[in-house]
Symmetry: C2
Subunit: 107 residues, 2 copies
Amino acid sequence: MISQVSQLHAEICRTLGSAARIEILKALSDGEKTVNELSKTLGLKQANVSQHLSILRQRRVVATRKEGTNIYYKVANPKIIQACELMRQVLIEQLQETEQLTKTVGA
Amino acid sequence: MISQVSQLHAEICRTLGSAARIEILKALSDGEKTVNELSKTLGLKQANVSQHLSILRQRRVVATRKEGTNIYYKVANPKIIQACELMRQVLIEQLQETEQLTKTVGA
DNA sequence: ATCATATATTCGCATATATGAATTGATATA
DNA sequence: TATATCAATTCATATATGCGAATATATGAT
């Protein structure tokens, strides 16, 4: 009863369901970076970043470009960044609502 | 090193990381529905739908309205629907790329 | 060939998640 | 009161996921 497309859709969402991977995407949203750069920027171990990138690559959320020893990663489709941005706005609105609420209760 | 916001962002994504919940959101995107309606429409057990709705409610992805015995669910923020729509487009583009690829290989 | 650097993979463990079954609670109605 | 309906919760179990540590692979330089 559950469509194949929804199955794939859920898989992409699960792929984004890790704070580390969200940070990686955010870091990549302003241009491509190597594994090492990401590792240093985010303060995560290289192996760990590589694992997350592997998962993101499998689902084609990121794409790669090889240059010598380095592998440059970028977000595969700008719409993914747009979707993330929308979700972040939802989050912000949620937080604002909560603030509103605590203020009202406090008054 | 990983921001609180990214943590929350990932939580929302994980919340959407279930095909059943994606279907529920799709079903709710054209207006509010009760648990029973969803259960029948999606062909899932009531208890199961209720569980999923409970998860969606916790993360405030859906909102409820009570009317007599019934509880009507709706998507809490239209931006969530927009984000889902974007991700679905990404999916479609991915599938098209794959088709393109298989055609090329086949030729 | 050796070494250094960049990236990927594997393993083991702890934790998280999904699901079905059974139960409970609340409301309506005969 | 008895019963049917709708929804939520609890529990047990199977499965998936995240992460660190160690190891492997690949490329480039000496």
